[in-house]
């Protein structure tokens, strides 16, 4: 029998996932108990529940996993992570799958990536989040019709002093930019 040394064999999909999130190596201990799927508040809207998704990862179904809507339904409530009897950092693995899907251009057709990019774009511009800018930009470019529906809600927030039309900027924006630039150069994922 010919054996291929581990460091020479091609990277499996499982290896890719493991390499992308700290602690993700515990995924090999998944015993398909389904505690994660049963705990997930958004399970009903997922193409594959977390348990099924982990079986697909194990089976090397790269494209099927990365193009699914599953991770984009995850809102990081950590219920699965807390309950997993094998201590698999499931929420962090969902984040890793989002990053992989974006990098590979396979992200499912949901508005979640657009919201994420608009949010961090404003963070980089001002150093702080800008709620009015986020809502207006995100809706305008992604769901302009829904913007009309948002009008009354935005107005009631504004009249109660809960929405500002001008952003707050941090003083040392250059410092933040230098840190972000360096972090990107270091190869992105930790």
């Amino acid at each position: 029998m010919i054996t291929v040394p581990t460091d020479e064999r091609s990277m499996t999909f499982m290896d890719e996932v493991v390499a992308d999130a700290p602690g993700a190596e515990r995924i090999v201990h998944c015993m398909q108990c389904g505690s994660c799927s049963g705990s997930c508040p958004n399970g009903p809207d997922m193409e594959y529940t977390p348990r099924t998704l982990f079986a697909l990862i194990e089976a090397g179904q790269r494209e099927r996993v990365l193009s699914s809507n599953t991770m984009w339904c995850c809102v990081s409530c950590y219920a699965c992570t807390t309950r997993c009897p094998q201590n698999i950092p499931i929420t962090d693995i969902m984040y890793a799958l989002k990053r992989l899907a974006l990098r590979e251009g396979l992200a499912a057709k949901t508005d979640a990536p657009a919201l994420a990019r608009t949010f961090t774009g404003l963070l980089e511009k001002y150093g702080r989040s800008f709620e009015f800018g986020l809502a207006s930009r995100y809706y305008l470019f992604n769901k302009p019709m829904a913007m009309l529906k948002m009008g009354p809600l935005g107005l009631s927030m504004f009249t109660r002093g809960r929405m500002s039309l001008v952003p707050t900027k941090i003083r040392q924006l250059d410092q933040l930019h230098a840190i972000i630039k360096k972090a990107r150069e270091l190869g992105g994922t930790a």
């Binding site: 508040p41 339904c73 409530c77 950590y78 990536p113 963070l123 989040s129 009631s156 927030m157 809960r162």
Partner: protein
Amino acid sequence: MKYAYYPGCSLECSSVAYDISVRKVAEVLGIDLREIDDWNCCGATEFFSQDELVACSVVARNLALVDPQIDQVVVPCAACYLNLKKTDTLMAEDAEIGGKINEALSAGNLHYQGGRVRVRHMLEVIYDDVGEAAIRAKVKRPLTGLKVAPYYGCQVVRPRDAFDDTEHPVKLDELFTWLGAEVVDYPLKTHCCGGHMTQISEPQAFELIRRLLDSAVERGADMILTMCPMCQLNLDAYQGPTANYFHTSFNMPIVFFTQMLGIAFGLEPKQLGFGKEIVAAEPVIRAKLAPAASATTA
């Protein structure tokens, strides 16, 4: 007691009532809050979806900016709290990642040693550091007659090493019994409010919001106490749209726990940011509670 203070972006604007009431309550309890100078956004969940090292470095800048004389930071927002705590833990436990984050920080002439600053939630500081006796001693207007549903939300007690039980936390419940309120048994206390789903897929969020509101109504609660800006926004601002979606109606005030703590300490609603919520809370307070002691003696 001196603590660094990280308000987070929501507390500057959409949840300014939380910031106002946190500062007021801290003043009453002798919690000395020193806002971190020039803090930046924690990135919420959105940076982690794109680039983990950038996400952690952005969070770590805040930890690095904490006054070297102070070794604890108080964070009222659940998402900021989780991000700061998660990054600190990661840097303390994983030297390789910690090193990379510090390499990024060094581009801004900053450095942070994982574990140096203890990241703490406002409820934790009030419950554990101030404690029952000191809090009871400050109560001027007991919340007797008021039924509250304690809603912790998801991120405050997760994912691990939480300051309260992850499945069945009790510290907010106990705090409000000290204030004289009737705390209803709220089975969905750690369930998800939908997070950013109100922006992405409304029907998905509406279903989660409906469950939380229905359960509080079923338990006879007069109001829901929250400790997270996102939970407050979803349950308060989206309460009307959720009711419309399900052809029903709700009238459940959603207030930050620090606002009601201030009421129990005898402060006026206007000093605590009341009036900013979409579903008005003051009518319930007036209907259920005896007037403040200062008002009766005047």
